[in-house]
Amino acid sequence: MMAVRAPLIFMLFVLGGCSDTSTKTPDFADRPDLDPSVRVSGFTFLTEETQALQQDDFANPGQLWVDRGAALFGDGEAACSSCHEPDDFSHTATQYPQWNSEHERLINLEGQINQCRTTRQDQPALAYESDDLLALTTFVATQARGDDINVSLTPEMQSAYQSGRDYFFTRRGQLNLACSQCHDDQWGMQLRGDTISQGHSNGFPAYRLQWETLGSLHRRLEECDLGVRAEPRPLGSDEYLAVELYLAIRAQGLPIETPAVRR
């Protein structure tokens, strides 16, 4: 180990001594975003059987989490239902992530639900990817099912948008692959038995056949990172929130399908 480490330390000194010009972060300004005119939901790339499962409001297993969310929504002394009607959320999921001016940060639907719990309901925040947070998120999101994603990108959100966009175009992991290389450049092509989708977020939280359960968009991102053998970011992290924002803008105009069924 030492034999390897010593030259590295030496090199760091040498480099550090040269100048303080930090490496210029590539901003991918020359890379085009996905052409909105070809934008299609991941639903398009599913087999007929999986499409039918998603559209079956009884058999879609994601509906188990909708039921659970509905029960939690009306549960407790300071229940969600004491302030909100489910109908109030008929567009909500289309508008997240959004800027929260009170806390001056980007917030997604999961974060909004947890913020309601801690500031208004006197309840502890729910753990990311817990069945309860997934259930509430799915219940709220599904109220907007069929409504198009319509996130407004305000000036405060610009830097998060940029870092999410950079994440999408940056090659990472042992496979040295960027999200864009599959989902912008090769969508519609076959990769083993799959047709590569455009990587949209409009179905999440979604029931994935691979997981055999329902999961969040961040869990999907974690798995994409693992897929290219990169170190994933924590679920709920600022990095994944930024990617979620970029993906929402990229999926602008696609309908919410929560709970979608995906491979």
Partner: protein, 149 residues
């Protein structure tokens, strides 16, 4: 959350799965033994059982199966059992059902796991003791990115 060690272990496993041979699966012989355990050595006739599965399943974790048996479902003439067997799953038995004339029709649908591309077999037992079977083949495709979990 996942730490670096878990990730490394997970990634190593993911690579390993593409290199290692397939997990053990049942053989047609083991499937015949499973059928015999449930129904004995009675002859099995082709027909009267319609088994439908998708021709291609994009994930073997959840494949729809639909079974229908020709039967009037009356006290004197009805289906008493329907069982489903997989010849290339680690275990050949999938689901065993017992039916009654109160159902009115002899059919059921469910979702099952298929470990690999294979033919699955549905066997129905009638109230007169005869056995009938139907088969269906499903191609299970491989996912783009293979990961454990």
């Amino acid at each position: 959350m996942m730490n670096r060690r878990d990730m490394l272990v997970g990634t190593g496993g993911a690579i390993a799965i593409t290199l290692l041979p397939k997990p053990a699966s049942a053989t047609p012989e083991e499937m015949r033994m499973a059928v015999t355990r449930l129904f004995g050595d009675r002859p099995i006739n082709d027909g009267r059982v319609s088994l439908k599965t998708p021709a291609i399943a994009e994930n073997g974790n959840s494949v729809s199966v639909d079974i229908r048996v020709e039967s009037p479902m009356i006290e004197d003439d009805h289906v008493t059992q329907i069982a489903l067997f997989a010849e290339a799953n680690p275990l050949p038995d999938m689901i065993h059902c017992r039916l009654s004339p109160a159902m009115g029709e002899a059919r059921l649908a469910s979702r099952v796991r298929l470990g690999d591309t294979q033919t699955i077999t549905a066997i129905a037992e009638m109230s007169d003791g005869t056995l009938w079977s139907g088969t269906a083949e499903t191609v299970v495709t491989l996912a783009a990115c293979v990961l454990i979990n």
